[in-house]
């Protein structure tokens, strides 16, 4: 299965090629879109393959697993690969026309390709240190992308993000160093193998805390969420769509899931810690989001509360809850990036981001209006759309697992989400049209196609539960449920 390697080599190759061929005008867009289309196709193929024969292993360089690095793709990583490459492909189509406003487009495409390579690398790597290096590639390109529009606000937000991100990476590195000294192997399955026979001792608790702090900061859980609103509101909107839709999920939640559930093994108090931080970020994110009048900042805060949902679902830990969490993860990636792209479209045509000043754009910007209506409805959980199903599953699972109080809080929060999305819809799209905006015209074709496709997936997401997609989602959730069973699967596949 050497196709796994193409997930990182193709984006890196495109990034290098884009730097070389930077003189020609349209070449960087073409290369970027082509390679992300190829990656999307590849991720669909791998999803199909993992469904047929479970865990897929690739020994890089032909070395036996514990010596060399192995790439591991199972249900969970295939599921995430599809989500990431789908959103990245659509964001790139959107960026063709949006990035006309920025100078040096080839730099944007090169950095974007590096971020994509980093994300794919994190997902398919089966080796702790390798995961850290690819996580670092994705973060460094994210720092530079946030500072892409070189204005004072962007620079300050990017600096805040860089410092917090660098501290988080150093914590993760310290955790890996401690794990290496304890088990002296880096292959995740091998580490799980060594840890399974050793009793719980203060060192493992200390490593848990380090990893929780590091990945929590990358996933913007509540105590560490300070950088997210600034970074997402000042980044160019294709970047902030990628950031909140995909990057916090892969670097934060996926790595957290992989390490906690599969390598270190999960204990009751860890689950309760996850649940507590999930609830906390849900509540804080929602209430802060109401107070905002800048569209992107409000969306950033609502990302924090939606991430809280997913962490809460993982904290509950029952099979149904994890299924709901993963489904919500996919949904949130789709409609949050759609909302950010809509905000970018509004800003592109009117140049204004403050909700109070806008009004009645619906007749002037029909496509953006309807797509953001669908996304807003789906995120706040209106029955027919995808968001409703995932939140329903999480709440039902919480009730089943006996956390009635938390379930009520979750329901309240989803109502609060509905409130501030209705406020966003009504302020921006309905109401009277300001005189100054009557001459704006619809966003160019490239942006419109991306918005429409995302909206269709948003509506169609509901099918994920029934029909063909169900086993696909099941595959992902029982990888987590198997917990440290991960090592038998991987070691079995190697021999």
């Amino acid at each position: 299965m050497s196709i796994l390697l193409y997930f990182t080599i193709v984006p890196l190759g495109t990034a290098f090629l884009v730097t070389l061929l930077r003189k020609k005008k349209g070449i960087s867009d073409l290369l970027a879109v082509l390679s992300s289309l190829y990656l999307f196709g590849l991720s669909l193929a791998t999803a199909g393959l993992t469904k047929s024969h479970g865990v897929m292993i690739y020994k890089v360089g032909g070395w036996f697993p514990t010596i060399g690095i192995t790439l591991v793709v199972d249900g969970l990583s295939a599921f995430l690969l599809v989500a990431i490459n789908l959103v990245a492909f659509l964001v790139l189509i959107y960026a063709i026309s949006y990035m006309e406003r920025y100078t040096d487009k080839w730099k944007f495409h090169a950095l974007f390709m590096f971020m994509l390579a980093g994300l794919n690398g994190v997902i398919i790597s089966g080796d702790l240190f390798n995961l850290y290096v690819f996580l670092e590639i994705a973060s460094i390109s994210a720092y530079a992308l946030v500072a892409f529009g070189v204005k004072p606000q962007n620079l300050e937000a990017a600096f805040k993000y860089t410092i917090m991100g660098a501290v988080a990476s150093i914590f993760i590195l310290l955790g890996i160093a401690l794990l290496y000294s304890y088990t002296s192997t880096l292959n995740m399955a091998d580490v799980a193998y060594c840890l399974s026979d050793k009793a719980k001792n203060p060192l493992l608790v200390f490593i848990w805390v380090l990893f929780l702090a590091g990945f929590g900061l990358k996933a913007a859980l509540v105590p560490f969420h300070a950088w997210l609103p600034d970074a997402h509101s000042s980044a160019p909107s294709p970047v902030s769509a990628m950031l909140s839709g995909v990057v916090i999920k892969t670097i934060g939640i996926y790595a957290l899931m992989r390490i906690f559930f599969n390598v270190l093994g999960v204990s009751i108090n860890l689950l309760s810690v996850l649940m507590a931080s999930g609830i906390l970020s849900m509540v804080v994110g929602a209430f802060l989001a109401i107070a905002q009048n800048d569209i992107k900042r409000m969306l950033a805060y609502s990302s924090i509360s939606q991430v809280g949902y997913i962490i809460f679902a993982l904290g509950v830990g029952t099979p149904l809850a994890i299924l709901g969490g993963l489904f919500h993860l996919f949904n949130h990636a789709v409609f949050k990036s759609l909302l950010f792209l809509d905000a970018g479209a509004i800003e592109y045509s009117t140049g204004e981001r403050n909700m109070d000043k806008l009004g009645g754009l619906n007749n002037k910007l029909p496509v953006t209006g309807y797509t953001s209506l669908m996304a807003a409805m789906s995120i706040s959980g209106i029955p027919p759309l995808a968001g409703f199903w995932s939140k329903l599953i999480i709440i039902v699972a919480a009730v089943e697992a006996g956390y009635i109080g938390y379930a009520i809080v979750a329901v309240l929060i989803s109502i609060v989400t509905l409130v501030y999305y209705l406020k966003f819809q009504s302020f921006v799209f309905f109401g009277k049209l300001d005189a100054v905006y009557n001459k704006i015209q619809e966003v160019p074709l490239a942006m419109k196609t991306a918005l429409v496709i995302l909206a269709v997936i948003c509506v169609m997401g509901g099918l994920m539960l029934t029909g063909t997609f169900r086993p696909f989602l099941e595959g992902a959730s029982n990888v987590i449920l198997s917990g440290t069973g991960y090592k038998q699967a991987v070691l079995g596949a190697i021999r």
Binding site: A147, V150, P152, Q153, L155, I170, A177, P229, D230
Partner: protein, 112 residues
């Protein structure tokens, strides 16, 4: 055991500088110190009591060698530390150019 602990003290010095200092350059220096501390810890972990450098000499056979794996890891982490520092310094220069000062309390234009 005590050497590991000294290494952690160095890590806390760096962390203190990142959390407490108000000048951007001091924060970047703090990051550098934390980077040094973790690299030192990694090498301390891989040291064998009176081992030899992991390089085969032409003639004699070297028995107890130091663990080469952490050294390969630290080779990468040093370069990662360099890359993060370069990005942070270029951001600091641009911020100094736009804001005219390094003091983060004055650069509070964004509502947190």
């Amino acid at each position: 055991m005590s050497l590991y602990f000294l290494c952690f003290i160095l890590f806390c010095v760096g962390l203190y500088s990142v959390l407490r200092k108000r000048n951007i350059i001091k924060i970047i220096i703090g990051l550098g110190i934390m980077e040094y501390a973790v690299n030192l810890f990694l090498i301390l972990v891989g040291y064998r009591m009176h081992g030899r450098a992991p390089i085969f000499a032409k003639d004699q056979e070297i028995l107890n060698m130091v663990d080469p794996l952490p050294q390969a890891m630290v080779l990468t982490t040093i370069v990662i530390g360099l890359a993060v520092t370069i990005i942070a310094v270029s951001l600091a220069i641009r911020i100094y150019e736009k804001y005219g000062t390094f003091d983060i309390t004055k650069i509070r234009s964004l509502k947190g």
